[in-house]
């Protein structure tokens, strides 16, 4: 069986094309794929940044054609469009690619954490559809453990690179525990939504959303179990807040020293202004207990972290190399499986025949058949242990197949197979 991977990602295809390929539930496509004779197992991986099909196949050429047709036709893209955008990997390269994707080394934002969950979902979907099997099963389990190693043994995923995550990270340097702290989000756009999610994940439980049009605030607040308010309540809301995040289309600052001064209470106040033009008067940053960060401050930290993450990928790549080697070893060991199976079956046939013949002889009258069965099995297992272990080791080390061939000749496995076929 060969492993074949075809797909396109943010590196090879523009957003418009990836949008056309993005599919909600690829269950039927998965079933169609494995129904084809040339594809034994398949996993379809679809996110906003990539669309990939991994297949295990006995006939790679036919499977390649089938998968290209799948990408071109079945998913509704015009044929010819995709050729230049599709990349293809087989065996070792495909394994490496899957391991790198799961470890977030091939992501647009290197080290981002969602990709592992998405890979697990893709794999689970394939299992649910009956499209997965032992080879891809092993590959994906290996990919998950590699991703875990990369995450725990390297610093690739350590530094936050999104504005929302940087804001949360900064808040943790100011406040001992975000649980119990109160946040005020001014605005109701996408950035506010992303930040709200990040703040919630960080443990902040009291969140208020204030917006010029309260309906939008109500909608957003309902989705994140927050409370919605109008902008007229701003001074009162500021009084109760520890973290303030603003992103509102406003020509003038809405949080000014006067507003803050009126509502100041004891304790630090962390203000994040991601609005353009700015929503917070920069002079409030001069107040002792007020820590003000604007979009440029956060972006520069995020960009710097992103660059540091990229520099730290060398360690992660080394782990992927090591794990690719392990998987290749396992894959190579599979070559020995038919020979080992035949060897054991052959030995078992001989053993069973000899035991049966022996038990018919008068010398064995009164002997326990179970004891003889047990004894002969133990002898056969002990005799086979050394050659079987050696065959596995040789296969894993990917040396030439002479050891396997020698075993087949010495134990007359091909003769036995021919005899069985004749019978």
């Amino acid at each position: 069986m060969k492993i074949l991977l075809l797909g396109m990602s943010h590196r090879t295809a523009p957003l418009e094309l990836r949008e056309r390929l993005a599919m909600g539930d690829p269950a039927q496509s998965l079933r169609d794929l494995v129904a084809c004779e040339e594809i034994g197992e398949a996993v379809v991986f679809s996110t906003c940044n990539r669309f990939e099909v991994v297949a295990a196949t006995g006939s790679p050429a036919a499977a390649r054609q089938r998968l290209r047709a799948f990408l071109n036709r079945d998913l509704g893209a015009d044929s010819g469009d995709l050729t230049e955008h599709v990349y293809e990997h087989t065996d070792g390269a495909a394994v490496r690619h899957v391991l790198r994707v799961a470890s977030s080394l091939d992501s647009m934002v290197v080290g981002e954490s969602q990709i592992l969950g998405q890979t697990k979902d893709a794999w689970q979907r394939s299992v649910d559809c009956g499209a997965s099997g032992p080879l891809l099963g092993r590959l994906f389990q290996h990919a998950f453990s590699t991703a875990k190693r990369v995450r725990t043994e390297t610093k690739v995923g350590e530094r936050p690179v999104s504005v929302a995550r940087v804001a949360v990270d900064l808040a943790k340097q100011i406040f001992e525990d975000l649980a119990g702290k109160q946040a005020l989000l001014v605005g109701a756009g996408e950035m506010i939504e992303a930040s709200l999610e990040a703040l919630r994940n960080a443990g902040l439980d009291a969140v208020r959303v204030a917006n010029r049009t309260p309906e939008r605030a109500v909608d957003l607040a309902a989705r994140f179990a927050a409370t919605a308010h109008g902008l007229d309540e701003l001074p009162e809301l500021l009084k109760r807040s520890d973290v303030v995040l603003t992103c509102l289309a406003s020509p003038r600052p809405i949080v000014t020293p006067e507003v803050i001064g009126k509502s100041r209470r004891r304790g630090p106040l962390f203000v994040i202004d991601i609005g353009v033009p700015r929503n917070v008067d920069s002079s409030i940053g001069e107040i002792d207990d007020v820590y003000l960060y604007d979009i440029d401050d956060l972006s520069s930290v995020a960009e710097e972290n992103s660059e540091k993450r990229r520099r730290e990928t060398a360690d992660a790549e080394a782990i992927v190399d090591e794990e690719c080697g392990r998987f290749d070893g396992w894959l190579a060991a599979l070559r020995a499986v038919p020979t080992i199976r035949e060897l054991r079956e052959n030995a078992e046939t001989l053993r069973a025949a000899e035991v049966e013949r022996a038990l018919r002889r008068p010398e064995f009258d009164g002997a326990s058949p179970e004891a003889i069965e047990q004894l002969t099995r133990a002898i056969v297992n002990k005799i086979l242990h050394a050659p079987v272990s050696r065959l596995r080791r040789e296969a894993e080390s990917e040396s030439d197949a002479s050891c396997l061939e020698a075993a087949r000749v010495l134990f007359a496995l091909d003769d036995a197979a021919a005899g069985a076929e004749e019978e």
Binding site: Q173, E176, G267, D288, D289, D297, S300, V301
Partner: protein
Amino acid sequence: MSVQLHEWTAALYLLAGIAAWLGLALRSRQLERVSVLILGAGAVLNVAAFAMLHQLDPPPPLTDLPTAVSFTTCVGAVFFLILLGWSKLAGLTVLVAPVAFVSAFYAALEIPHAAAPVAEASAPWAHAHVMLASAGLACLGMSGMAGLLFLVEHRRIKAKRPLDFRFSLPSLEALDRVNRASVAVGFPLLTLGFVTGLLWVHAVYGTWIAGGRHEAWLALAWIVYAVLIGVRFALRQGARSAALSAVVAFGFLAFAVIGVGISS
């Protein structure tokens, strides 16, 4: 035996300091935890070393400077460990461990020390004074260290500088809490130390004021702390100015106790 224990205590504090700084530089949570564990072991040994001073013949009085330093270090380390259970402060070990090392090392070098005996009639007041004042000094020292780290972190966050050490250092809020708690515990102890000091002077000289420079500076230090407490708790002083006050006030107190104390 006590001398050896003091040496081992100093060695453990030194190790804790090295582990804490390495943890900070490498951003290693594990090293940070190791540093706290070593500091804890050092504190246990410190208690034993101080207790073993009574085995010396003759046992040094508490008024002896190395003995008082050993006691202060012991109280400071134990107080820090108590604070650790209350707040996320492991990163403060980078300051606490080196200071504890210097103090324990000094005690190890100087003990046994030829100390002037204390008059029997005034001994209880003398010992009470040293114990209370030393415990107060240790707590206020903790507030000074928390204040110092607060000022460094506050400056860094305000200046929006890269956040390389972000996982190891305590948050500003935690440092402010420690500062407040340490002053709240340390000031009453210092006050009691001051009162028992007066009683000691009275027992020895029959007057409340002996007129020494040490007394005058200590009285000034007490007034500084009294003002600091008033501003902090009654006038709702901000965290940064509270941190600055804690550093300055402790500097003043350290000068009054150690600087003037040694020279007079």
